[in-house]
Protein backbone atom coordinates (compact mmCIF):
# COMPACT_ATOMS: atom_id res chain seq x y z
CA UNK A 1 0.00 0.00 0.00
CA UNK A 2 1.49 3.34 -0.99
CA UNK A 3 -1.32 5.67 0.06
CA UNK A 4 -2.76 6.13 3.52
CA UNK A 5 -1.90 7.38 6.98
CA UNK A 6 1.82 6.99 7.56
CA UNK A 7 2.39 8.64 10.92
CA UNK A 8 0.39 10.04 13.79
CA UNK A 9 2.18 12.08 16.45
CA UNK A 10 1.67 12.15 20.19
CA UNK A 11 2.84 14.84 22.54
CA UNK A 12 4.95 13.48 25.38
CA UNK A 13 6.49 15.29 28.33
CA UNK A 14 9.91 13.72 27.85
CA UNK A 15 11.09 11.94 24.72
CA UNK A 16 13.64 9.71 26.47
CA UNK A 17 11.01 8.56 28.95
CA UNK A 18 8.49 7.99 26.14
CA UNK A 19 11.03 6.08 24.09
CA UNK A 20 11.79 3.78 27.01
CA UNK A 21 8.08 3.25 27.61
CA UNK A 22 7.07 2.48 24.04
CA UNK A 23 10.12 0.35 23.25
CA UNK A 24 10.92 -1.43 26.52
CA UNK A 25 7.42 -1.77 27.94
CA UNK A 26 5.14 -1.96 24.89
CA UNK A 27 7.62 -3.66 22.57
CA UNK A 28 7.61 -1.06 19.79
CA UNK A 29 10.72 -0.43 17.66
CA UNK A 30 12.45 2.84 16.95
CA UNK A 31 11.81 3.88 13.36
CA UNK A 32 13.49 7.30 13.24
CA UNK A 33 15.41 9.22 15.86
CA UNK A 34 17.14 12.29 14.47
CA UNK A 35 18.06 15.60 16.06
CA UNK A 36 18.62 19.06 14.79
CA UNK A 37 19.78 21.22 17.68
CA UNK A 38 16.99 21.22 20.26
CA UNK A 39 14.57 19.52 17.90
CA UNK A 40 14.24 15.76 17.90
CA UNK A 41 12.15 13.84 15.39
CA UNK A 42 11.35 10.54 17.08
CA UNK A 43 9.03 7.88 15.72
CA UNK A 44 8.40 4.31 16.80
CA UNK A 45 6.39 1.55 15.24
CA UNK A 46 4.62 -1.62 16.19
CA UNK A 47 6.65 -4.67 15.07
CA UNK A 48 3.65 -6.04 13.14
CA UNK A 49 2.85 -2.77 11.41
CA UNK A 50 5.75 -1.55 9.28
CA UNK A 51 3.64 0.93 7.31
CA UNK A 52 2.65 3.00 10.34
CA UNK A 53 4.73 5.19 12.63
CA UNK A 54 3.83 6.68 15.96
CA UNK A 55 5.58 9.99 16.52
CA UNK A 56 6.69 10.95 20.02
CA UNK A 57 7.13 14.70 20.15
CA UNK A 58 7.96 17.06 22.97
CA UNK A 59 6.00 20.32 22.83
CA UNK A 60 8.42 23.22 22.71
CA UNK A 61 10.52 25.50 20.59
CA UNK A 62 11.14 25.90 17.73
CA UNK A 63 7.74 24.46 16.76
CA UNK A 64 5.75 25.83 19.70
CA UNK A 65 6.36 28.96 21.75
CA UNK A 66 6.91 28.50 25.48
CA UNK A 67 3.36 29.49 26.49
CA UNK A 68 1.71 27.16 23.98
CA UNK A 69 4.06 24.35 24.96
CA UNK A 70 3.07 24.79 28.60
CA UNK A 71 -0.61 24.59 27.64
CA UNK A 72 0.00 21.43 25.61
CA UNK A 73 1.95 19.82 28.47
CA UNK A 74 -0.96 20.58 30.81
CA UNK A 75 -3.51 19.12 28.38
CA UNK A 76 -1.50 15.92 27.96
CA UNK A 77 -0.96 15.58 31.73
CA UNK A 78 -4.70 15.93 32.28
CA UNK A 79 -5.38 13.03 29.94
CA UNK A 80 -7.34 15.29 27.61
CA UNK A 81 -5.79 14.07 24.36
CA UNK A 82 -8.02 11.83 22.22
CA UNK A 83 -8.15 8.06 22.75
CA UNK A 84 -5.63 5.67 21.24
CA UNK A 85 -6.33 2.03 20.47
CA UNK A 86 -3.89 -0.87 20.44
CA UNK A 87 -5.17 -4.14 19.01
CA UNK A 88 -3.94 -7.32 20.67
CA UNK A 89 -4.62 -11.02 20.16
CA UNK A 90 -5.04 -11.76 23.86
CA UNK A 91 -5.95 -8.83 26.07
CA UNK A 92 -5.65 -10.64 29.40
CA UNK A 93 -2.23 -12.07 28.57
CA UNK A 94 -1.01 -8.68 27.32
CA UNK A 95 -2.39 -7.06 30.47
CA UNK A 96 -0.46 -9.42 32.73
CA UNK A 97 2.70 -8.97 30.73
CA UNK A 98 2.55 -5.18 30.55
CA UNK A 99 1.50 -4.81 34.16
CA UNK A 100 4.50 -6.90 35.20
CA UNK A 101 6.65 -4.41 33.29
CA UNK A 102 5.18 -1.55 35.28
CA UNK A 103 2.63 -0.14 32.82
CA UNK A 104 0.05 2.03 34.61
CA UNK A 105 -3.31 0.43 33.89
CA UNK A 106 -6.44 2.51 34.31
CA UNK A 107 -8.84 -0.32 33.60
CA UNK A 108 -8.53 -4.07 34.06
CA UNK A 109 -9.54 -6.33 31.16
CA UNK A 110 -13.32 -6.34 30.67
CA UNK A 111 -15.49 -8.51 28.48
CA UNK A 112 -17.91 -6.63 26.28
CA UNK A 113 -20.01 -8.87 24.06
CA UNK A 114 -17.07 -11.01 22.96
CA UNK A 115 -14.40 -8.31 22.80
CA UNK A 116 -12.05 -7.76 25.72
CA UNK A 117 -10.53 -4.38 26.50
CA UNK A 118 -8.25 -2.81 29.09
CA UNK A 119 -6.95 0.73 29.52
CA UNK A 120 -3.53 2.12 30.29
CA UNK A 121 -1.65 5.40 30.14
CA UNK A 122 1.80 6.27 28.99
CA UNK A 123 3.96 8.20 31.47
CA UNK A 124 2.88 11.52 29.95
CA UNK A 125 -0.83 10.82 30.38
CA UNK A 126 -1.84 9.68 26.89
CA UNK A 127 -4.61 7.12 27.29
CA UNK A 128 -4.69 3.83 25.42
CA UNK A 129 -7.39 1.22 25.05
CA UNK A 130 -6.03 -2.25 24.45
CA UNK A 131 -8.64 -4.23 22.56
CA UNK A 132 -8.93 -7.88 21.67
CA UNK A 133 -11.37 -8.25 18.81
CA UNK A 134 -14.19 -10.75 18.72
CA UNK A 135 -12.91 -14.10 17.52
Amino acid sequence: MSQGVAMVGLYVRDQDEALAFYVEKLGFRVHTDVRNGEYRWLTVQHPDQPSFQLGLFAPGPPVLDAGTAQTVRAIVAKGAMPPLVLNVDDCRAAYEQLRARGVEFTQEPMDRYGTVDAGFRDPSGNGWKMIQARR
Partner: protein, 161 residues
Amino acid sequence: MRVDPASQDPELLRRLLRAKDRMDASSHEAWSVRRLARVSGVSEAHFARSFKQAFGIPPHRYLLTRRIERATALLRDTDLPITEIAFQAGWGSLGTFGRTVRDVTGESPGAIRARQWATARELGCVPACCISAASRPHLTIAVSEKRRRVPSGINGSEEVK
Protein backbone atom coordinates in the same frame (compact mmCIF):
# COMPACT_ATOMS: atom_id res chain seq x y z
CA MET B 1 -11.90 32.05 41.30
CA ARG B 2 -10.74 31.73 37.75
CA VAL B 3 -7.19 30.53 37.33
CA ASP B 4 -5.64 29.62 34.02
CA PRO B 5 -5.39 25.80 34.10
CA ALA B 6 -2.22 25.99 32.02
CA SER B 7 -0.56 27.63 35.00
CA GLN B 8 -0.77 24.35 36.92
CA ASP B 9 2.36 22.24 37.09
CA PRO B 10 2.07 19.36 34.56
CA GLU B 11 3.62 16.99 37.12
CA LEU B 12 0.83 17.84 39.56
CA LEU B 13 -1.78 17.49 36.79
CA ARG B 14 -0.46 14.04 35.93
CA ARG B 15 -0.87 12.98 39.57
CA LEU B 16 -4.37 14.50 39.74
CA LEU B 17 -5.20 12.52 36.60
CA ARG B 18 -4.21 9.38 38.49
CA ALA B 19 -6.87 10.13 41.12
CA LYS B 20 -9.40 10.76 38.35
CA ASP B 21 -8.43 7.47 36.69
CA ARG B 22 -8.91 5.63 39.98
CA MET B 23 -12.42 7.06 40.32
CA ASP B 24 -13.10 6.06 36.71
CA ALA B 25 -11.93 2.51 37.34
CA SER B 26 -13.91 2.04 40.58
CA SER B 27 -16.65 4.65 40.65
CA HIS B 28 -18.78 2.43 42.89
CA GLU B 29 -16.23 2.72 45.70
CA ALA B 30 -16.23 5.43 48.35
CA TRP B 31 -13.75 8.15 47.38
CA SER B 32 -13.09 10.53 50.22
CA VAL B 33 -10.97 13.58 49.52
CA ARG B 34 -8.46 12.04 51.89
CA ARG B 35 -8.18 8.88 49.81
CA LEU B 36 -7.96 10.81 46.54
CA ALA B 37 -5.38 13.19 47.94
CA ARG B 38 -3.26 10.22 48.91
CA VAL B 39 -3.42 8.86 45.34
CA SER B 40 -2.22 12.22 44.05
CA GLY B 41 0.36 12.70 46.76
CA VAL B 42 -0.91 16.12 47.90
CA SER B 43 -2.67 17.53 50.96
CA GLU B 44 -6.46 17.29 51.14
CA ALA B 45 -6.99 21.03 50.86
CA HIS B 46 -4.60 21.26 47.95
CA PHE B 47 -6.22 18.29 46.24
CA ALA B 48 -9.80 19.57 46.22
CA ARG B 49 -8.74 22.99 44.97
CA SER B 50 -6.31 21.69 42.36
CA PHE B 51 -8.68 19.04 41.03
CA LYS B 52 -11.43 21.56 40.43
CA GLN B 53 -8.99 23.94 38.79
CA ALA B 54 -7.66 21.17 36.54
CA PHE B 55 -10.88 19.44 35.56
CA GLY B 56 -13.45 22.19 36.06
CA ILE B 57 -15.57 20.21 38.51
CA PRO B 58 -15.14 19.25 42.17
CA PRO B 59 -13.99 15.64 42.67
CA HIS B 60 -17.18 14.41 44.36
CA ARG B 61 -19.30 15.83 41.55
CA TYR B 62 -17.07 14.22 38.96
CA LEU B 63 -17.56 10.92 40.77
CA LEU B 64 -21.33 11.42 40.60
CA THR B 65 -21.19 11.88 36.81
CA ARG B 66 -19.29 8.61 36.51
CA ARG B 67 -21.74 6.77 38.75
CA ILE B 68 -24.66 8.00 36.68
CA GLU B 69 -22.83 7.04 33.51
CA ARG B 70 -22.26 3.57 34.91
CA ALA B 71 -25.84 3.21 36.09
CA THR B 72 -27.08 4.32 32.66
CA ALA B 73 -24.86 1.72 30.98
CA LEU B 74 -26.13 -1.01 33.29
CA LEU B 75 -29.73 0.05 32.67
CA ARG B 76 -29.10 -0.11 28.94
CA ASP B 77 -26.88 -3.19 28.67
CA THR B 78 -28.21 -5.53 31.36
CA ASP B 79 -31.55 -6.66 32.65
CA LEU B 80 -30.40 -6.44 36.28
CA PRO B 81 -33.04 -5.20 38.73
CA ILE B 82 -32.81 -1.45 39.34
CA THR B 83 -32.05 -2.03 43.03
CA GLU B 84 -29.05 -4.12 42.07
CA ILE B 85 -27.87 -1.44 39.63
CA ALA B 86 -28.14 1.20 42.38
CA PHE B 87 -25.81 -0.82 44.60
CA GLN B 88 -23.42 -1.77 41.81
CA ALA B 89 -23.09 1.86 40.76
CA GLY B 90 -22.22 2.96 44.29
CA TRP B 91 -25.47 4.09 45.93
CA GLY B 92 -26.43 2.93 49.39
CA SER B 93 -30.18 3.04 48.82
CA LEU B 94 -32.63 2.76 45.98
CA GLY B 95 -34.40 5.95 47.06
CA THR B 96 -31.28 8.09 46.88
CA PHE B 97 -30.36 6.54 43.56
CA GLY B 98 -33.74 7.25 41.96
CA ARG B 99 -33.88 10.79 43.30
CA THR B 100 -30.34 11.66 42.22
CA VAL B 101 -30.81 10.21 38.74
CA ARG B 102 -34.05 12.14 38.29
CA ASP B 103 -32.45 15.34 39.55
CA VAL B 104 -29.53 15.04 37.18
CA THR B 105 -31.07 13.56 34.05
CA GLY B 106 -34.73 14.54 34.40
CA GLU B 107 -35.73 10.90 33.97
CA SER B 108 -36.29 8.05 36.38
CA PRO B 109 -34.02 4.98 36.07
CA GLY B 110 -36.97 2.98 34.73
CA ALA B 111 -37.70 5.59 32.05
CA ILE B 112 -34.02 5.68 31.03
CA ARG B 113 -34.04 1.91 30.65
CA ALA B 114 -37.25 1.92 28.60
CA ARG B 115 -35.94 4.64 26.27
CA GLN B 116 -32.54 2.99 25.83
CA TRP B 117 -34.07 -0.39 25.09
CA ALA B 118 -36.37 1.16 22.51
CA THR B 119 -33.38 2.69 20.68
CA ALA B 120 -31.75 0.48 18.10
CA ARG B 121 -28.25 -0.70 19.00
CA GLU B 122 -26.33 0.69 16.09
CA LEU B 123 -23.14 1.73 17.86
CA GLY B 124 -21.32 -1.59 17.62
CA CYS B 125 -18.20 -0.19 15.98
CA VAL B 126 -17.44 2.51 18.56
CA PRO B 127 -15.40 1.39 21.60
CA ALA B 128 -17.82 0.76 24.45
CA CYS B 129 -16.09 3.20 26.76
CA CYS B 130 -16.68 6.04 24.28
CA ILE B 131 -20.37 5.22 23.95
CA SER B 132 -20.57 5.18 27.71
CA ALA B 133 -18.76 8.52 28.03
CA ALA B 134 -21.26 10.09 25.64
CA SER B 135 -24.00 9.50 28.18
CA ARG B 136 -22.06 11.12 31.02
CA PRO B 137 -24.03 14.05 32.44
CA HIS B 138 -22.61 17.57 32.32
CA LEU B 139 -22.88 18.58 35.94
CA THR B 140 -22.12 22.26 35.82
CA ILE B 141 -24.04 22.99 39.00
CA ALA B 142 -24.47 21.09 42.24
CA VAL B 143 -27.24 18.55 42.28
CA SER B 144 -28.92 20.20 45.26
CA GLU B 145 -29.13 23.44 43.27
CA LYS B 146 -30.44 21.53 40.31
CA ARG B 147 -33.35 20.24 42.32
CA ARG B 148 -34.56 23.80 42.83
CA ARG B 149 -34.68 24.49 39.13
CA VAL B 150 -37.20 23.62 36.49
CA PRO B 151 -35.88 20.53 34.72
CA SER B 152 -34.81 21.56 31.25
CA GLY B 153 -32.36 18.87 30.16
CA ILE B 154 -28.94 18.63 31.69
CA ASN B 155 -27.03 20.07 28.79
CA GLY B 156 -29.59 22.68 27.94
CA SER B 157 -30.36 21.16 24.57
CA GLU B 158 -33.25 18.92 25.46
CA GLU B 159 -36.77 20.04 26.13
CA VAL B 160 -38.38 18.19 28.97
CA LYS B 161 -42.12 18.26 28.64
